[in-house]
Amino acid sequence: MHPCPAHTHALHSTVTETPVITTTGLTKVYRSRGREVIALDGVDLHVREGEVYGVIGQSGAGKSSLIRCVNLLERPTSGTVTVAGQDLTALAGRGPRAGKELRQARSGIGMVFQHFNLLSSRTVQDNIELPLEILGVSGRERSRKALELLDLVGLSDKAKAYPAQLSGGQKQRVGIARALAGDPKVLLSDEATSALDPETTRSILQLLRDLNRQLGLTVLLITHEMDVVKSICDSAALMEKGRIVESGTVSELLATPGSELASALFPVSGDASGEDRTVIDVTFHGEAATQPVVSQLARTYNIDISILGAAMDTVGGKQVGRMRIELPGRYEDNVVPIGFLREQGLQIDVLGQEPVLVGEGAK
């Protein structure tokens, strides 16, 4: 797999154990013409302070409803949403309109959109000043802040341009700058890179990662692209049919046997080269990953090991990932070496022996 510059960034992870976004039993049911569509079905989400949390799923899985429920653009049918210690669902009240308190809470949550949603009638600078106008910040302070943010997203020269004169990537940078204007603790990203080409996507993700590291900003993003999760997320959740089916930090996911997310994040492939061969998947997560286990295995048992495929990454200075290796002889002949690997704290899945789920994400 391609190396990820984000992970080798000089600044270190800002993740703490304090929960910033918590949803409990979040349910959203859409009713139209007597039909009911369940978009969210009891979603419990826990996003810790300072982390980049990715929710991935196919369209229609409920990701969009989820992120829009977090700042209550969408009213959940039941369940609670807490952001930065504030129970937003309690602030929302019963009426369909957002009260003063909810609006105040929203101004502390930045949001970026797939289609940027910039006002075409305003210049770039005026777009960034918009949330500050809503907050009632004075004119001079607004323009100071807007120019500072433009500098942060690398668009200082575009202050007087109109959105129509910008490229997609530049528009999204403006969208990000605008979302940061109110000094939010939390940034919600609704498919922010889905309308962009791969190159631009990378640069926008890099920007989000940098902001996360520099400002300690918590980012909750939804996406349908595994690459997004792979390149910037500390934690991820997989959504299917309105439910979160898997969630956790990247290493926790790897440690989960049969995790679809893990196999999609770290796809390995390769078949046995002959009859008398044993193919095993070694999953590295945590401490064992720092030891050269493969060569230890080869030396200790004097066996020839072929590596069929591997997907490794460095997260927080530790190696995480998967490796598919082939040992000579049948499974019965390799019980001892496999036991050795397990003793090292590695997770071993033997192909053809145990139920091994290989996700469809190996594309």
Binding site: N71, L73, P96, R97, A98, R103, Q104, A105, R106, S107, I109, M111, F113, H115, N117, L118, L119, S120, S121, R122, L130, P131, E133, I134, L135, A161, Y162, A164, Q165, R178, G182, L188
Partner: protein, 243 residues
């Protein structure tokens, strides 16, 4: 003939100017309200929406000359008389308000819902959405709507002669039709055609400038407007909506 014509011209512009101003001031909030109170709108209110919608439809379905007569007592209450230019402004404005309101409704409805959401996510309330998004984003289209309204009011104002308000239409009927002075009538037709062409051109240019800004950038705006005068037509002369 000359003083007659210039007086009539002035009367027409006077009536049309005031009633346009009133129609825009009243029709804009009404049109916005029609969108906001509609189903799925920001302040959904079926009763208000239906009531406004019905009133708008009733006034719009009334022929202007009937409206003018029907509103006589209202006109007297407002301006103290039912005769003259001022008296004509009242029915003209009342007739144009629902006309403009419907055009506003259509324009505002075209604003991308994502922009509304963006402002809501920043903590903006409904008033902020109206002021910062709905109106400014639909401005090019609102300018076109105003142009259409002005032209319609000029048409209505021809009937204002029946209440002694003068104006070009009145002149054409009294001198051109009743006194068989065809030259004067054709002259008035020419004047009206020029007036409407100028208004249409001004409105179109205004809308086009704003459209350009909201659309694709590139050439400086001033140059593009100038290009509209040149033979062969400007590049992409028809206002196009991006997105």
């Amino acid at each position: 003939m000359q003083p007659l014509l210039s007086q009539a011209c002035w009367d027409t512009l006077y009536m049309v100017g005031w009633s346009t101003l009133i129609a825009v001031l009243a029709g804009l909030p009404l049109g916005v309200l029609l969108v906001l109170t509609d189903r799925g709108g920001l302040v959904q209110n079926t009763v208000v929406n239906k009531v406004i919608g019905q009133v708008v439809n009733i006034v719009r379905s009334m022929p202007f000359i009937i409206l003018m007569v029907a509103l006589m007592s209202f006109t007297r209450w407002i301006v103290g008389t039912t005769i003259g230019r001022e008296a004509a402004i009242v029915p003209l404005a009342v007739g144009a308000i629902p006309f403009f309101a419907r055009l506003v409704e259509t324009s505002v409805r075209e604003v991308d819902g994502g922009l509304v959401e963006a402002v809501q996510s920043m903590g903006g309330n409904t008033w902020t959405v109206v002021r910062k998004v709905l109106v400014p984003e639909s401005l090019p289209s609102l300018i076109s709507a105003t142009t259409t309204t002005v032209v319609a009011i000029i048409g209505y104002s021809a009937m204002a002669g029946t209440v002694g308000a003068g104006g070009l239409g009145d002149l054409a009927i009294r001198y051109g039709y009743q006194r068989f002075e065809s030259e004067l009538m054709w002259l008035i037709v020419a004047v009206l055609a020029v007036v409407i062409a100028v208004i249409q051109f001004a409105g179109d240019s205004g809308a086009r400038v704003l459209h350009r800004r909201a659309g694709k950038g590139g050439e400086p705006l001033r140059f593009r407007v100038l290009a509209g005068f040149l033979p062969g037509g400007p590049v992409g002369a028809t206002p196009t909506k991006t997105r």
